[in-house]
């Protein structure tokens, strides 16, 4: 009877700033990326990347803030991670910096924005839009009726 490799569960906590180095080390060691997913835990989001080598898994776990979630994309190392990172963007509102193939929120056509992390996009726009000063031209919203 062979060893139960499926029971080996290895979860390694990694700081967001160290993620790319940790992923690069695994790539050099011959691991392939299996999947990536996110989980909301209170005020945080836990992002997990699973890597496989010889049918044994290693999972890197990164915890980031839920209100304006951001993380470096690993698509520079594993291009096909774009599938998982676009999914996490659409469902959890996580922004991935340097994402190789960015669907800009159009990966899943869903009725509700970021259903696992409601309001993430609204929080982002508050951070991203610079406050208007008195002499700034503020564009008014054009409705269909105005055109």
């Amino acid at each position: 009877m062979s060893e139960r490799k499926d029971l080996i569960q290895d979860f390694v906590p990694v700081q967001a700033a160290d993620l790319l180095n940790a992923v690069a080390d695994l790539k050099t060691a011959g691991y392939r990326l299996g999947q990536a997913c996110a989980t909301v835990i209170g005020d945080d989001i836990e992002v997990m990347y699973s890597f496989d080598k010889d049918v044994v898994l290693k999972n890197l776990v990164v915890t980031i803030g839920k209100s304006v979630p951001e993380l470096q994309s690993v698509t520079g190392l594993y291009w096909y991670a774009f599938i998982y990172e676009n999914e996490m963007h659409d469902l959890f509102g996580i922004t991935f910096k340097n994402l190789a193939l960015d669907y800009k929120g159009q990966f899943f056509k869903i009725a509700e924005e970021t259903p696992w992390n409601k309001g993430a996009n609204a929080a982002k726009s508050v951070v991203e839009v610079a406050p208007a000063t008195d002499d700034t031209d503020v564009a008014t919203e054009t409705t269909k009726g105005d055109e």
């Binding site: 060893e3 139960r4 499926d6 699973s50 056509k109």
Partner: protein, 361 residues
């Protein structure tokens, strides 16, 4: 440079059983780039974990897909069982293996039929599905269902198959092995089949690794990765098990891998029937809820699938995540489409055996 044209392919198209969209960038009749879009049927099944207690969630997970529903149920149970730290009785593991391998036979026969239909070989399509019908009859006889079985539960299985019935199943499989071999010979030998598959959509070993291809898609390019080798289920107790691998990496090789796996699955079932021990069907779980993380994997007919569960000690899991094989094979599909003729696009999409319901969940 020749003029480039973009042809929108899907989401509704005669060759596509489910909605997926590709923007095909063409130079004359040649595809130079393919940009995929999915997301038309995202159902948010994973999110239902917030409303369904973990013992009931298996019914939701089974409904991710109508082809590999048993495997999804098993993968979910395996993940929660890992979280709970329980060991499933041997007879239940054998029964799960038998139903799962029957699902692989039915899935591969369905795929072979669809492939035959795609290149216009109607009679071959009908023969494949005629044999598949026998497998569906076995499901109905043993579980009561032909698509969704609901026999897998956390801790074991809900139904037993008597030893007499198992012997009958082995006899049926021995009977259809000859018919299957005859049909497979047509796929392997026929000139018109070869002309549509040989050298079409080649994915090299390096590309398969670089793009994370899984299942028959990867194994047809020489990637000998099969999660059945990790020691779960009854696989570790088989006389011998080795993944079916081809090296050419083209559509023909992907067809050969599935033919090999179809025959292999029948042998696995027959051997499992010979070796199945008597005993309990389930472990009764009382007063215990999952707590912690567990990633389970299963070799579905289309390839490796992930089932991640995170428990917090309550009746509701914090997260269930399913990563399906088609999800992993989309990048490889995009690669194989580059440089192909427009006429080969339907065949190439079929050769990854796409399941969009699985992918979008």
């Amino acid at each position: 440079m020749a003029k480039r044209t973009i042809i929108p392919f899907g989401p509704q198209h005669p060759v596509l059983p489910e909605p997926v969209h590709l923007d095909l960038v063409m130079e004359d009749e040649t595809v130079v780039e393919a940009i995929p879009s999915i997301g038309y049927i995202h159902r948010g099944l994973e999110k239902l974990v917030e409303k369904n207690e973990w013992p009931e969630m298996v019914y939701v997970i089974e409904r991710i897909c109508g082809i590999c529903s048993f495997g999804h149920g098993w993968g979910y149970c395996k993940s929660v069982e890992g979280n709970l730290g329980i060991e499933v009785p041997k007879r239940a593991e054998y029964l799960r293996t038998i139903w799962h391998e029957l699902s692989r036979c039915h899935s591969h026969l369905l795929w072979l039929g669809l492939l035959a239909d795609a290149f216009g070989f109607e009679s071959l399509f009908m023969h494949c599905w005629r044999i598949r019908e026998t497998i569906l009859d076995i499901f109905e006889d043993t579980t009561g269902g032909r698509v969704i079985f609901s026999v897998c539960k956390v801790g074991g299985v809900r139904k037993d198959i008597s030893n007499e019935k198992l012997a009958e199943i082995a006899k049926i499989l021995e009977g259809i092995k000859k018919e299957t071999a005859e049909i497979c010979d047509v796929f392997i030998e026929d000139g018109s089949v070869k002309s549509r598959l040989v050298g079409i959509g080649t994915l090299s070993y390096d590309e398969a690794v670089e793009l994370g291809a899984v299942g028959p898609m990867g194994r047809a390019s020489g990637v000998a990765q099969d999660i059945r080798t990790d020691g779960h289920g009854a696989y570790s107790e088989l006389e011998s098990f080795a993944p079916v691998v081809e090296t050419a990496g083209d559509s023909y090789a992907r067809c050969l891998v599935r033919i090999g796996e179809l025959k292999q699955s029948m042998e696995i079932i027959i051997e499992a029937i010979e070796k199945i021990p008597d005993g309990e069907l389930e472990v009764v779980i009382k007063g215990k809820n999952p707590e912690g993380n567990f990633v389970a994997r299963l070799e579905q007919p289309r390839g490796e699938a992930y089932y991640y569960s995170k428990g917090n000690g309550s009746k509701f899991l914090e997260r269930i995540r399913v990563r399906t094989p088609t999800n992993a094979n989309i990048p490889a599909l995009v690669k194989t489409l580059q440089g192909c003729d427009l006429a080969d696009v339907p065949i190439l999409i079929l050769t990854i055996d796409p399941c969009i319901s699985c992918t979008e969940r």
